[in-house]
Symmetry: C2
DNA sequence: TTGCCCTGTCCATAATATGGACAAGAACGC
DNA sequence: GCGTTCTTGTCCATATTATGGACAGGGCAA
């Protein structure tokens, strides 16, 4: 069903945009976009510069990096309403945040990426704040990504992981490691990372499925590792699993 | 400087997106996109359907209309910070809103469109609320658009108006009318519409220029016509002009 | 100096996107 | 009922468009 043709250039431009989005405000060097997309440099160069002329991409004077331009939020204003998921998850995030006390994240799947769409800071004095709303990463490099991959049919997960292969290098991981983590998450019932992307942190993620059974999001707790021993890991996982089921019900409504 | 080639399809896709953005949540029928962009129907059809596959565009089941998809806000999250203008204009909008009591709009120029980026509701019991944040229209059909056009070199304005010609029909106006309104705004020092887009309303807009002298935005008051007689029009215009200059200073800082 | 990695540009070529023509469904008038 | 006019969707030969190999310049480290 997917392969409608006659628009290669448009698909490529979007692939470039998604990589640039992962670079947030700082942007991404051209060479990195080339690596991540697998396109040739002249092609990426041409696409990026046309997008600059169109106002969709900006280039930082100092660094030469390319970033999402301000015409993208302008287009996004056409869709002012917050998403169904965000509304449905709100009470659960508040409840779980109060109960757990560590930083909570809501992360959605978008294409081959995870995208952080909400964050709640807890009451405990040490909070992991490195991931911000808007943070975007290849599925598989964060515990949320692993959880989402674990919740989908093995074949689909494998396809996504393979598609992200070129991007894993930048996050110091690889296909084999990710596949192992997915298998572990399936056994456990939730995603987990002893070594978070930030040194000394640990994360636990549960998946949230849409009514049709496909994972759409993950709810994550991140904390300094010492605060998430085996006993507390169990406790936190239970809260997350409980709230994930509640959110799934709320989406249905 | 502009004409970099080798990406016709990408430019066309963006032109389509900008038209779809004008349709907000409801979207736009294919035929309307064809008219507004001047592209052929097969081309628009192909572009729109590729964008649907990519998640950038959505199609409403009931109406068959095409609208901006939720992947656009997702990309926009990469740029979380509010724009410089929005921050700079905030105090002026609050002050002017309190002073005037009618609905205030802040509208930016984006390409050949105006885009409403902020709205303040006043204290007077009858408020013009038809224009919402995110509303997008061809430059020239609203008083804000006329104000922005009036503030740029005549030749540039003429070019934009000509480019929007095909879209004016849908708003029951035409190139000659718009050019006349621009000339009137230049004489007055601000944009004005006796007959607003909504029946029985009247609008007054002042332009806001960036440090390099190009108009970037407009500040607008809309009210029921009876509330904006010649005397009050003068008063309101003076407040708007004063605040516009203050915003221009604030952007500079 | 050399080597390496970055960005930018050219242009012959192949592949891509194009749009005329055709089709079919929906809404309206009579 | 039937024609008219609106809409959206699809096909495919064609030529226009996008492609990427090859080349070049700049910055930095050894």
């Amino acid at each position: 069903m997917e392969p409608r043709q006659g628009a290669q250039a448009i698909r490529r431009a979007l692939a470039v945009l998604r990589i640039l989005a992962a670079g947030r405000e700082d942007g991404v060097p051209l060479a990195e976009v080339v690596r991540a997309t697998g396109l040739t440099r002249p092609t990426v160069h041409r696409i990026v510069h046309v997008l600059i002329e169109e106002g969709i991409v900006e280039r930082h004077e100092r660094t030469g990096r390319y970033a999402i331009g301000n015409q993208v939020p302008e287009l996004a204003l056409a869709r002012a309403r917050p998403s169904r998921l965000l509304v449905a998850a709100n009470p659960s995030l508040r409840r779980a945040s109060a109960e757990i006390g560590d930083t909570l994240f809501l992360t959605v799947r978008t294409g081959n990426d995870t995208l952080c769409v909400d964050r709640r800071i807890g009451v405990y004095p040490i909070q992991v704040l490195s991931i911000e709303v808007g943070a975007r990463r290849p599925l598989g490099v964060s515990s949320a990504g692993v959880a989402i991959l674990a919740a989908m049919p093995a074949q689909d997960a494998r396809k996504i992981v393979a598609a992200n292969e070129k991007r894993y290098e930048a996050y110091r991981t690889d296909v084999a490691t990710v596949m192992g983590e997915i298998a572990a998450a399936r056994r456990l019932g939730y995603g987990m990372r002893e070594i978070g992307l930030v040194q000394g942190t640990k994360s636990i993620s549960t998946w949230i499925k849409t009514p049709d059974g496909r994972p759409a999001a993950a709810m994550t707790v991140s904390a300094v590792r010492t605060r998430l021993g085996p006993r507390r890991e169990q406790e936190v996982a239970e809260i997350l699993l409980r709230e994930a089921r509640i959110i799934e019900q709320a989406i249905r409504g």
